[in-house]
């Protein structure tokens, strides 16, 4: 295996593009090293992108926030403005692994690992986040939900790297939340994850919403029907019931070591209801 530590995205992209064997991007490494250790992958090249300045910063832009690919969970949690604007996203990112893992892991890594159970991804999807991708053919920006295409597979082409994640600017009276279910209180992979983002009007009526589910299908799902259940309502009991129903209906889960099909379908609705209530409260609703 070769280890490279380029200082620009262009160098990184070129290294990845030229490698004839298997090449991987290393940011936090909390997934990559586990996969190497368990023999799941045997890389020929690992490109560490942490020396590339753009990957290390959280920038506040006219459009919102730009979060570099190598920004760690711990750094996200320490960024007061980001936390205030997107508490659900930061919470979700901070749920990944332990304090030890938080010191290294990144949202971009979480996204590119393409696990359907990734904690930060439903929150990012609900937040309408976009991924900025740099590659041999230049830059492109796509919605985050288009990055993972199947468990462990992304839409990135050879030589492409996610440089950063963009979170839009928040309209007033907006709130987001992410909840997951795990059997223990920490250290588990989500059995079900739900991200909800809402915007309310002055009367507390939901004018915009996005709802996303994790661990209930091969990829993280954006559930427009669930959002529809909220829009135009005060996110009251009837709306929450409809939301829960829409979420459960959208699930296409499997039975596995972490949970049963029935369980995931049921709990997706329960968590959606709870997450929506938190999001509503954060948006200033009652």
């Amino acid at each position: 295996m070769r280890y490279e530590r380029p200082t620009s995205l262009k160098q990184a992209s070129t290294l990845l593009a030229k490698e004839k064997g298997s090449a991987y991007v290393l940011a936090g490494g909390t997934d990559l090293l586990v996969r190497m250790r368990t023999g799941f992958i045997e890389p020929d090249l690992v490109v560490d992108i942490k020396q590339i300045p753009a990957t290390r910063e959280i920038a506040i832009t006219a459009g919102g926030f730009r979060i570099g690919a190598a920004v760690t969970g711990a750094e996200l949690g320490e960024h007061a403005k980001l936390k205030k604007a997107w508490p659900g996203v930061v919470e979700a990112a901070n749920l990944i692994g332990s304090k030890q893992v938080q010191g290294r892991c990144t949202m971009t890594g979480n996204l590119c690992n393409a696990s359907p159970a990734a904690d930060s991804v439903p929150a990012l999807v609900a937040a309408a986040a976009k991924a900025v991708i740099v590659g041999p053919k230049g830059k492109r920006t796509i919605p985050v939900e288009q990055v993972p295409v199947a468990p462990g597979k992304t839409s990135l082409k050879k030589g492409e790297i996610v440089e950063s994640i963009l979170l839009p600017k928040r309209p007033s009276r907006s709130g987001d939340a992410y909840l997951r279910f795990i059997p223990r209180t920490e250290m588990d992979i989500a059995v079900v994850g739900v991200g909800v983002s809402v915007t309310l009007d002055a009367k507390g009526i939901c004018t915009d919403a996005r709802v996303s589910l994790g661990a209930v299908a091969p990829t993280v799902l954006l559930v427009p029907e669930a959002a529809k259940a909220l829009i135009g309502t005060k996110v009251d009991k009837a709306a929450l019931d409809a939301l829960a129903k829409a979420c459960s209906a959208a699930c296409r889960p499997i039975d596995d070591k972490r949970g049963t099909r029935e369980y995931r379908i049921k709990v997706a609705g329960v968590l959606a209801r709870r997450a929506a209530q938190i999001a509503r409260k954060r948006a200033g609703g009652k």
Partner: protein, 158 residues
Amino acid sequence: MSNIHVRTKINGDVVEYVCEADETLLDVLRNRLGLTGAKEGCGTGDCGACSVTIDGRLTCSCLVLGAEADGSEIGTIEGMAKGEELHPLQRKFLEHAALQCGICTPGILVAAKALLEHNPKPTETEVRFGLAGNLCRCTGYDKIVRAVMDAAQEMRRA
């Protein structure tokens, strides 16, 4: 396989080593540098026995490549006591009998130190969540939590 030359500071001392590209920092510490205080309980970041700090951030050294540490400052359990003087956490762990077999102890001490640096006055719940990445199978954590809270109190008074 080409070896990589790495220059770091470990517990304040300049340390240079050569490692393989796919070698973890944990393996470097244990097998190349003789710093066996960090333990491998799982190798996958699930047990915290290999906890160290890198540039002040708590991390599992099994999830970091040795090569990545170039230019970093690493803190391990071996650097926790200052000469003869134990860190208050080390002392309190002994006083409270917060260890039985002791395999998880170095990792827990490193994690607890990082926790208290971040939050000098943690509640029981904060201690519990702060140490959730460190598995202990002997104690049921009761005496560990007591020791950390007691050390925090002593450190605040100091």
